[in-house]
Subunit: 276 residues, 2 copies
Amino acid sequence: MAANEHEEHAGRWRVEPGTELRLADIDTASKAGAPGDKEATTLAVQDLVGQLSDWQNRLWAEGSQSILLVLQAMDAGGKDGTIRQVFTGVNPQGVRVASFKAPTADELAHDFLWRVHQHAPAHGEMGVFNRSHYEDVLIVRVNELVPEPVWRARYQQIRDFEQILTASGTAVVKVFLHISPEEQAERLQARLDDPTKRWKFAAADLDVRKHWDAYQAAYEEAIRETSTADAPWYVIPADRKWYRNWAVLQVLLDVLHRLDPQFPPEEPGLEDLTVV
Amino acid sequence: MAANEHEEHAGRWRVEPGTELRLADIDTASKAGAPGDKEATTLAVQDLVGQLSDWQNRLWAEGSQSILLVLQAMDAGGKDGTIRQVFTGVNPQGVRVASFKAPTADELAHDFLWRVHQHAPAHGEMGVFNRSHYEDVLIVRVNELVPEPVWRARYQQIRDFEQILTASGTAVVKVFLHISPEEQAERLQARLDDPTKRWKFAAADLDVRKHWDAYQAAYEEAIRETSTADAPWYVIPADRKWYRNWAVLQVLLDVLHRLDPQFPPEEPGLEDLTVV
């Protein structure tokens, strides 16, 4: 594993297996490690997006490894914004975003990993899950949709499933965008106050907000139980959108440096060929 | 149908149903209608990409209509470059690119539309087909992979299939990137001469090139037979990449103006709500 300039940053947010995680101890407004304040960091983000685009090209050309970015957050935590701001600028041919909503009847008639497996990235692709199989140990737990022994057994199932993806060349990267309840209130209120964004608001969001502590506890346990050496979680302070974008890019670039995709070898005998 | 500034441009390349099409009569290096030469047009493209991004946001928010862009071209015709340059800058969450290569055994065990149907864009999405079901009346015809009555019957099947998509709210837009054989030779040679691009080159590309005239004839007939009022073909002069990008954007923006997606209505009673 070659050292790279993103490694130190990524390590800052990585949840090492076996460590105790307390979300309340992590400052959601942190700017730790950022190259400067909003303006300087936004400038750095532009450069990092360019790097991500170059790596995507190599990953695609190589065609034997892939990345799966799992994005989880509370409502208004910034999942959509992260996808837009981090991946806009990357060739959409190699990026595949899957959004998971409430499961359909057909999906519920299968094991909980069935529907997400279908959206696993192919070799050469960057896959992004906007919400994921983790909802099956989060909302399912908080709303008591299945008995505790069922959701509790899923931690092991998730570890096994992600190990299967890893073994076939997919780097599984899991990011929790960590915001404060005050920041969430501000963002939801902003949606309400802006007529062009009000359609995004559902009154049901406020019900979920009432269960804030239960969700934080569920996240804490899920992250602790499923952060492995091969498929680690990263808890990224996300009250400041510019810091969040910069941090997610650092994590992705660290992973890409380690995957180190290479352009494939050419067919032999092409050097002196002339097209007629 | 409201008039829009892109309508006149799009009409320039649209193959009206029932008209005779002769590809040889269309100048592959045309600059007709462009706002200027390379520099000025590239600047205009940046602005059009921004417009496409805004429309994508509305289409996604509305969630009841979609676009399917079918891209076809000879090898090195610019399909990959068009996708990268037109859609990079658009939120990847709403763009879904599907590339179709030689069919698998499972795909061959189904009708020829089965595999493409699975990649039809959902409501709110922009779908892009990099190659498509049209290969089943192109390469399949030139290489005599099925008997003539079989591929000939596919014209009607394609019209019917695309009508089904149209009826469910998908605007089907088909673009043939039209290059000259000289331009193709230059581009293939450039791939050979650049060690970082040589991996893209397959010696088999030269075999396809030998059948240039047969392919042009197959394209001419396929386009004539399947350009309908609801799912028209556009033949876009594509020797100049900057003109090609500008033209594809004009076509997409014309279609989006006509779809005219609207932000959905908000839930009633949200105006005076305060988030606590």
